[in-house]
């Protein structure tokens, strides 16, 4: 008997509405398929900037993972990446530890031994803890304070609680708060701004840098570009924070509370008119004028170049990429392309896009990567010319792919422009 893959068409999903999302699309209602397409989703510590790697965002810091061996297993992979091999340490918990919590008494000693083993003292020690301590109710702040006193170096908690992934403070939100928690109040400098949200730099030619400079900003800080600990600490001098990833909202709120630095949030978008509108609102909020015509024209030119060369291209869009899957799908539809399939996580917030997708392309199929039925996905049933995202590439290995998930982060017109340039280059290569 042939097993069916679950999907729902955009029109049908839009009709269900955000309060009636089918159970098949809710990860809490079924076992989770950890498809090769989606490993980075299902194991937040495994690929890209998961909690463990993100915890090392503070320049000069090292990390001690305090957990059963299984939690640190895939870090072997990270250790092979440049610069990380010397920064990860492990305190393995045994059967007694996970029941009694006696490992907590060893942490100060372990931190001291790690610090003593290094040629140069680290700027900070991140203590990464996992589901076991979530269940034990460990007061890691207190444990870290004790360790700080023992070694005279800041020791900070870093929570890799997979159990709370869909909770109020998911791990990637918590780690963003942790990595800014060492900042101490300083005199604010009116011409300094922090870009918060990512662990790798934004594209060097991102227009936001020029826009901020033209508005009088002289220093733009990003944690990933801080060369040393002092430069990191100077982020406390910022006049305001620009939050470019919603997972950094909690960190921004914490910074506002502790350091009285306000924040403004901007969203990564791929609909060119929405990018323009967002900059208008941003300008109004700051009381400045933004001339974005040049960047708008460049992005528009890239969209037109691709669209004229490859009109009405049929796409499949994944979720392992630097974009909101549904917003990107909507953007492509609005530029005149087809979106045959979307592999995404449907949440109530996505309905603002899903409703519009349903109007433009009611038969777009929406899949969830995590459904057990995705084992049986067969691409021969669909005609897709191009895919965006690593997961979409897995499902359609013969289609032209742009993975669009590099560590360098796209944003604004610049991101849009580069995406369409990459799409065109990929199609051109196929046609050579």
């Amino acid at each position: 008997m042939k097993k069916e893959v679950y999907y729902i068409e955009a029109k049908e999903l839009a009709e269900c509405g955000k309060d009636q999302i089918p159970d098949e699309l809710k990860s809490s209602k079924h076992l989770i398929y950890s498809s090769p397409a989606t490993l980075s989703f299902n194991s937040p510590g495994a690929q890209g900037f998961g909690v463990k790697r993100a915890g090392l965002a503070i320049p000069g810091s090292v990390e001690l993972l305090v957990a059963p061996g299984c939690c640190g297993r895939n870090t072997t992979m990270l250790s092979e990446l440049g610069g990380y091999g010397e920064r990860f340490f492990y305190l393995l918990m045994d059967d007694t530890d996970i029941v009694t919590g006696r490992h907590l008494n060893k942490i100060s000693k372990a931190v001291k031994e790690v610090v003593d083993s290094l040629d140069m003292p680290p700027s900070a020690v991140m203590i990464c803890i996992t589901c076991v301590d979530a269940l034990l109710g460990t007061d890691m702040e207190r444990v870290c304070k004790k360790a700080t006193d023992a070694v005279g170096i800041p020791v900070l908690p870093c929570y890799m609680y997979a159990l709370t992934r869909e909770g109020r403070v998911p791990p990637m939100t918590a780690v963003r708060k942790s990595v800014y928690s060492l900042l101490e109040k300083r005199k604010r400098v009116g011409t300094t701004v922090n870009l918060l949200g990512e662990f790798a730099p934004f594209f060097d030619d991102m227009e936001l840098y020029e826009i901020l400079r033209s508005a009088g900003v002289k220093k733009i800080n990003e944690i990933s570009r801080c060369k040393d600990f002092e430069e990191y600490m100077s982020m406390a001098e910022a006049n305001f924070n620009l939050v470019l990833n919603p997972e950094c909202r909690l960190a921004a709120e914490d910074i506002k509370k502790r350091l009285e630095i306000p924040s403004i949030e901007l969203t990564r978008l791929y609909q060119i008119d929405k990018i323009k509108r967002q900059y208008e609102l941003f300008a109004a909020a700051l009381g400045i004028k933004i001339d974005d015509q040049k960047y708008y024209d460049q992005a528009k030119k890239a969209i037109n170049a691709f669209t004229n060369a490859y009109p009405s291209t049929s796409f499949a869009i994944g979720e392992c990429l630097n974009a909101d899957t549904f917003e990107l799908a909507l953007a492509l539809l609005r530029y005149g392309h087809q979106v045959k399939e979307i592999y995404g996580t449907v949440t109530p917030e996505k309905f603002v896009y899903i409703k519009k997708i349903a109007q433009l392309s009611p038969h777009t199929k929406i899949y969830t990567n995590l459904s057990p039925t995705m084992m049986y996905y067969d691409c021969s049933d669909s005609k897709v010319e191009m895919t965006i995202g690593m997961d979409a590439n897995y499902y359609h290995p013969d289609a032209v792919n742009v993975s669009w998930n590099e560590e360098r982060q796209p944003f604004g017109y610049c991101g849009l422009q580069h995406l369409f340039e990459q799409l065109k280059e990929a199609m051109d290569r196929r046609n050579v």
Binding site: S43, C70, T76, L92, D97, C131, A162, L163
Partner: protein
Amino acid sequence: MKGLLKYLSPFAPDQSGATSVLYDLEGITVICDAGGCTGNICGFDEPRWFEHQSAIFSAGLRDMDAILGRDDRLVDKLKDTAQKVHAKFAAVIGTPVPAVIATDYRALERMGEKRCQMPVIAIECTGTRLYDEGEEETYLALFRKFARKDVERDDKAVGVIGMTPLDISLTQGDTFLQEKLQKEGFERIYSYGMGSGLEEVKLAGSVQKNLVVAPAGLKPAKYMEKNFGIPYEVTYPFLGENFLNQLKQISGKKVLIVHQQVAANEIRENIRLSHKGEKMELNVGTWFMQPKDLKEEGDLVFKTEDGFIKHVEEEQYDVIIGDALLHRPLKEFKGTYISIPHFAVSGKLYDGR
């Protein structure tokens, strides 16, 4: 300090071992975790994940599932998946989360079998132990549950126990072995853990003999000997020609071999054969299980990174043979290091040469 790793990273845990044995058995494997353990297994410890599919799923536990012990929800999810996926049985694999909340695995088995109308086994992994313990427990659970007593002896069939990528660092050990065993007259090779399915496990009581290729296979092989009268041999036929030639070139007097015990024993025997008449000290050390039957006097089990470093410093070896990752802590070692991958250590495959 016990448990502290400053140079090494953790080795494959018990849940990876259990899943590895089950990978090709056409069942549903449910890792009883929040998602991270499954990601570790599929993304790192199971190289076959990128070669061919297996129905491995995460239970997707959330904090309230663990706090309230909602096993019934897990069984509901299992039933839902059993209706959507082709499978002959289901296995539930433990992780630290159920270990902390003391999940009753036998109850899970009973509830699962009743609701899903298919056999269910549960393997009590904790994530704190090593892969070989998970493998051993899984082999035993499979033979106890599925090996049929009513099968006739088949002299053309041979069983292989302990053949997983974690142990042999190959993903196609079954094809590697096929030619060799066919030459010995075997027509049916039941390689549990790699290549063979549940039907072969059911026929495990029919084979002429079992080959044990890793320490985790020894206890299950003894179980089959005791209950089915099947003899076993311990062997490791996976060393390639280039590597064996390298062993012939060894010129030192004092050699340490670090691997899983069966592989290490095979390396030691090869050195002995190629250096007949030479006075050499050949020590085997392992980070994993070391059954009494497989060890020689002086063989070691390493428990801590510090202990490993200290031993190597004190013993002044001329040659060390082991996974390349194990070289990392040995900063003071001045001898020759010959690397041979052990997937459970570094996650690196052996190219078979």
